[in-house]
């Protein structure tokens, strides 16, 4: 076994390297590579974390399908689809941000990150509107949850006009609470991840304005982009599973 190359703490061998190269790495490529791989592994843990919720959802949707259909009709497809479009655009602006960082376009990067930030806030704003609707209608599990819209659909004229749901027997109507538990759990967990993302974005916008990401060191933006796209993908599935269970019945 040979020991080669420069001694590790010999000053003469302390060649020029960017200030952002951490000393336990041999090169900028190795550092960027390792941090990107680390972010992917972190996203794997997120997949498994949400996985538990998806498992619960699949089981109970299978068991209580009519309740899930009725519950799903309580969600506004327009808001949900709008939010999906908002997030898709935000993924686009985020990807553009990465491109700007890679091609050293400082102003483009700041614009992209700011747009992503705003779109994220729009998403949360719409979610707030939806959540407050649920609160008004007493569809929040554990907080005076009301079965009325389900045992007597005609008491809810807006939804009834669209779907003409048949009344559920009280036993099945009770299980709509499970639907809403999963709705709040899954969208809530997703929203929490959005909030964290938006928080990091605000920090990034400040740093981007100072040129931190447009001088060759793009890993932070890239890795955050991976996180942001992941959160978008989760929503793509949540929209399909929670909002679109069956709009034709």
């Amino acid at each position: 076994m040979k020991f080669h190359g420069a001694a590790l703490d010999d000053n003469s061998a302390h060649q020029e390297h960017p200030s952002y190269l951490r000393h336990h790495f041999n090169s900028v490529e190795q550092q960027a590579d390792a941090s990107s791989f680390a972010m992917w592994l972190f996203l794997l843990t997120e997949v498994m974390f949400f996985g538990g919720l998806f498992t619960a959802y699949l089981i109970y949707r299978n068991w209580y399908y009519p309740a899930f259909v009725s519950g799903s009709h309580q969600l506004n497809v327009v808001w949900g689809a709008t939010n999906t479009v908002v997030l898709i655009f935000s993924s686009f602006t985020m990807a553009m941000g990465v491109w700007c960082a890679e091609t050293r376009r400082r102003r483009g990067l700041v614009l992209s990150l700011t747009l992503t930030f705003i779109l994220g806030l729009v998403f949360l704003g719409i979610k707030t509107i939806e959540y407050s609707e649920k609160i008004e209608k007493h569809h929040v599990p554990g907080f005076h949850y009301s079965l009325q819209s389900f045992v007597d659909p005609q008491s809810d004229p807006e939804v009834y006009a669209e779907y003409h749901d048949k009344p559920l027997v009280p036993d099945m109507a009770r299980h709509t609470e499970l639907y809403f538990s999963l709705y709040f759990l899954m969208t809530g967990m997703h929203a929490l991840h959005m909030i964290i993302g938006i928080g990091i974005l605000s920090f990034m916008i400040l740093r981007a304005r100072a040129g931190a990401y447009t001088s060759g060191h793009v890993t932070f933006v890239e890795n955050f982009g991976l996180y942001w796209h992941f959160v978008d993908i989760i929503w793509i599935y949540l929209f399909a599973l929670l909002y679109l269970i069956s709009r034709h019945q």
Partner: protein, 102 residues
């Protein structure tokens, strides 16, 4: 020896991103429309298929996986595989409960 790096090489440009954006928006419209059509047992299948297609596009192009190393691709496959194991093997219990005791 460390594996070769990836992203120094391929920069994905706005053109690709615009195409993907368009595809994702079309997919959204399609999946909303499909949920209003009665396709029986195929409704959830189609919804999930469209969602998965959208997800794959985001992963491959927005997340640059198409231009990434084998290690990245393998990592993603491992994660998806484990996610599917969690769901499907748990479901072996729930689905077969209704089959009765032997």
């Amino acid at each position: 020896m460390s594996e070769p790096n990836e992203h120094a090489h391929h920069i994905v440009g706005p053109g690709v991103y615009l195409v993907i954006l368009f595809c994702l928006l079309m997919g959204t419209a399609l999946t909303v429309w499909a949920s209003y059509v009665d396709l029986g047992v195929w409704n959830p299948v189609i919804a999930l298929a469209i969602a998965t297609t959208k997800a794959v596009l985001v992963v491959l192009f927005f997340m640059h996986v198409k231009y990434s190393t084998k290690l990245t691709k393998l990592t993603i496959v491992a994660g998806i595989f484990m996610f599917l194991v969690l769901i499907s093997m748990t479901l072996t219990d729930y689905i077969s409960r209704a089959w009765g005791s032997w």
